[in-house]
């Protein structure tokens, strides 16, 4: 059984004024196996963010089903959602979403505190993780005192400390310079090699080229997918780039 099973997702927004309907997702189906590293690519407005929100249980689809280890996210009750999200999902956002009033350590502790873990347990979990992510020296600092790369690694630590089934990343390199991006991506590759399932939404080819599989979304449906198999990063980069060109030109051709 796949870790994540997405079948026939459809999402229609109704605008508040006038009641015009906008279709964000038309029909999306795919599955993610445990230990996979999947990147989802698509242009702005292709429905990536909507898809990610549904996967994160922040939003519900109009039609369709999302199963995480066989459990339906769509059928979750309002009261269960927070705990479910806390226990099973980890998030890394483009703009870090760190809290200024917490030190780096406390930011990482946040999900554990919410889960009611004891202080000793939290310390036991943070020490190896902080070393692994290279933030052991800055645990006492505050978010406004550290660099963007450090912030994003802190956010990653916060996402990983609960040992989530699935790590969801939304444009994690969007606010980073190229060096920090590269560091973060190799970090993601590392933890994936250790068995962490990652689902990343991005429109950076460099970022996507680290993934084991790339899904291309266009106009609310899965347009194409690429498997990395035994390809080297450079080759993967080229493939993705080619695919994007194909997508872009095909839509242009259709328009003209």
């Amino acid at each position: 059984m796949a870790l994540l099973e997405v079948s026939h997702l459809k999402k229609i927004y109704t605008t508040r004024l006038g009641g015009a309907k906008i279709q964000a997702l038309k029909d999306v189906s795919f599955s993610v196996e445990a230990g996979e590293y999947v990147a989802i690519m698509g242009e702005s407005g292709s429905g990536k963010t909507t898809l990610l929100n549904i996967l994160a249980a922040l939003d519900k689809p109009t039609v369709g089903e999302v199963l995480l280890e066989g459990r339906s996210l769509v059928a979750l009750k309002e009261r269960e959602i927070s705990a479910f999200r806390r226990d099973n999902l980890g998030f890394v956002f483009q703009d870090f979403n760190l809290l200024d009033n917490f030190s780096v350590q406390d930011n990482i502790f946040l999900p554990l505190v919410l889960a009611g873990k004891s202080y000793e347990e939290m310390v036991k979990q943070i020490t190896p993780l902080a070393h692994r992510l290279g933030i052991a020296d800055i645990l006492k600092k505050y978010p406004y005192e550290i660099s963007g790369g450090q912030k994003q690694r802190t956010a990653a630590a916060r996402a990983l400390i609960t040992a989530p089934r699935l790590l969801l990343a939304d444009e994690p390199t969007g606010a980073l310079d190229s060096r920090a991006s590269e560091e973060l991506l190799s970090l993601f590759a590392d933890i994936n090699r250790d068995g962490q399932t990652i689902l990343m939404v991005t429109h950076s080819i460099a970022a996507a080229s680290h993934a084991g599989r790339v899904l291309f979304i266009k106009d609310g449906q899965v347009f194409h997918q690429l498997y990395r198999a035994s390809l080297r990063r450079e080759e993967m980069y080229q493939r993705i780039s080619d695919t994007l060109t194909t997508i872009a030109t095909s839509s242009e051709r259709r328009q003209s």
């Binding site: 994160a56 927070s82 809290l99 200024d100 009033n101 946040l110 999900p111 505190v113 505050y142 406004y144």
Partner: protein, 676 residues
Amino acid sequence: MKRFFYFRLALQNILNNKKSYIPYILTVIGTVLMYYSFQCMADNPGIQDLRGGTVVSMIMGFGTFVVGLFAVIFLFYTNSFLIKQRKKEFALFNILGMEKRHLGRVLLWETLFVAIIGLAAGFCGGLLLTKLMYLFLLRLMDFPVQLGFYVSWSAFGSCVVLFGLIFLFTWLNALCQIHLASPVQLLQQQKAGEKEPRTKLLMTTLGVFCLGAGYYISLTTESPITALTLFFVAVILVIIGTYLVFTSGSIAWLKFLRSRKHYYYKTHHFISVSGMLYRMKQNAVGLANICILSTMVLVMLSATVALYAGSENMIHSQYPRELMVYAEQTTEDRADAYEERVSQYLQENGLAAQDVISYREMGGVMVREGNNLRGPVGAQDMLVSVEAHFMRLEDFRQMTDEALVQTLGTDQVYLLYRGKDIPGDTLGVSGLSFQIEDRMTFEEAGVDPAVLTDSYNVADVYVILVKDDGVLGQIKTAVDREIGVEDSIFYGCDPASDQLRYVYGFDLGDEAQVKEVQSQMANLLAEAGIPQGGIENRYDNMASYYEMNGGLLFLGIFLALLFGMAAVLIMYYKQISEGYDDRERYQIMQRVGLSRREVRASIRSQVLSVFYLPLVTAVIHVAFAFPIIVRLIALFNLNDVGLFLLTTVVTVLAFGLLYAIVYAMTARVYYRIVSE
């Protein structure tokens, strides 16, 4: 044309920032309203007619000062946070080609705009409020109040000057902030967030010291007259102490909480402690303001309610019986003859005197130094005076059921006292020395102090019982020698010819009859050969007592409403401005897995501590202020500590309930903003 441009831009800016400007303008209006209303009451000529008018106007003048101080601190703070929020906007204007001096001009227009709206609305509100409150209270209290409704032009004037200055300084402050930074710095500053405040040990110590000193004054001041002067010193110390302890002490406290890992890492402690610490600098001043305002409300209400409720008690202490006769140069024979005539007259008219009191004594104001009593010399002595009454033992024996000593020698006295006991076994009176045979308090003797004492309930009282007229004569001679016969404190007494001060009183139980009998009493005095005496009835003074204490109560409620409103306004402002600040934080936490229920719980925890901290501190302040206020209301002739304690407790409870309601309301507003 150009001016018009800046003006329109300023107006546009305010409209664009209305989320933060509306609470700010409301605050300005509220402060102006409060300051005007307060000034207006302080200027009110009716205040001088109140009992203890000088004391009250002194308190009011001081109160105006406190409100002014409060206005300065509060407006300055709210404004500086407003400016901070808008730094990004200033930076944008700057980058888009507006010079800093142009920005200054826009800011000037904005400030003027806020000032004009604030002052105008504040004045109108103040006028309306004073009028409405006046009518409302008048109706509610159902007695004629001397404080008329009154429009104070001088209050207008001082309002314009004070707030003009405040606005000038807020504008200069904003200019400084803009001039000191480059556009890039301005852009980043808003994002940087508030840095974690440092623990300031010096400030905390100083604050604790100020509080301690204020409390110490209250606990140790004994004389009501010194209490009056020291009261203001204590209040200022406590206000300063409150600000310091709230700003620095609260940070130290929160950091301590954070260092206790097992406490801190619990969901709602985690969120609330960090949230409060994050914004404590801003929080603290608001909290200190709420605390001080709450303290004022509690003190004023409890004291004035006690005074009003204690009117009966005060009248009783001044008029222990419905009809009171005070006469001088009265011998025993004359007193007997007089009392016989009175009872004959009453009998003829079918009346009977009840609870008759009758005694003769020699009394006056003296100064106690250790175990010596001496005559007062000069005004300074009057401030530390005690009340001394000298009586023959046999005269006193008629007033009590307690078994007293059987006989006294010429150098022996029996001591009855209220207040502080006289140390040792000997009593000196202006050079004479007596052996204190035994002593008792009024309560132990079963004698109502009101019957024997005549000063207001301020000073210590000593009733010295002696063997006979001979001893009384010695005492008069000794005291007169000390201060001079023409200044004698024993006016109208001549023990050598058995002429003493005579006090006689009884109840009839009916106001009309009392007044009827009173009109005959002067004739009867003359018939009995008593040359002069005062005849007073309780009812003549009752109305004026109620009227004046009612006036004080009115003032107390008025000010309490005013301060209470200010406190509510601050709470509301805090909740709204912080709600917008916290919204993003709560959104992030919800993404990480904080449920709505937990959001509500942590908000409750945070809002609860923020809210109840000032109330708890205010109650502590009130508890420590209790002794000095007891002394102060003694100046108003109220000496019923139990009654004042009761009104204080009731006031605190009622205020606490009101506070809880406001808390519930603002917490809901906060929650709605945060969870939008």
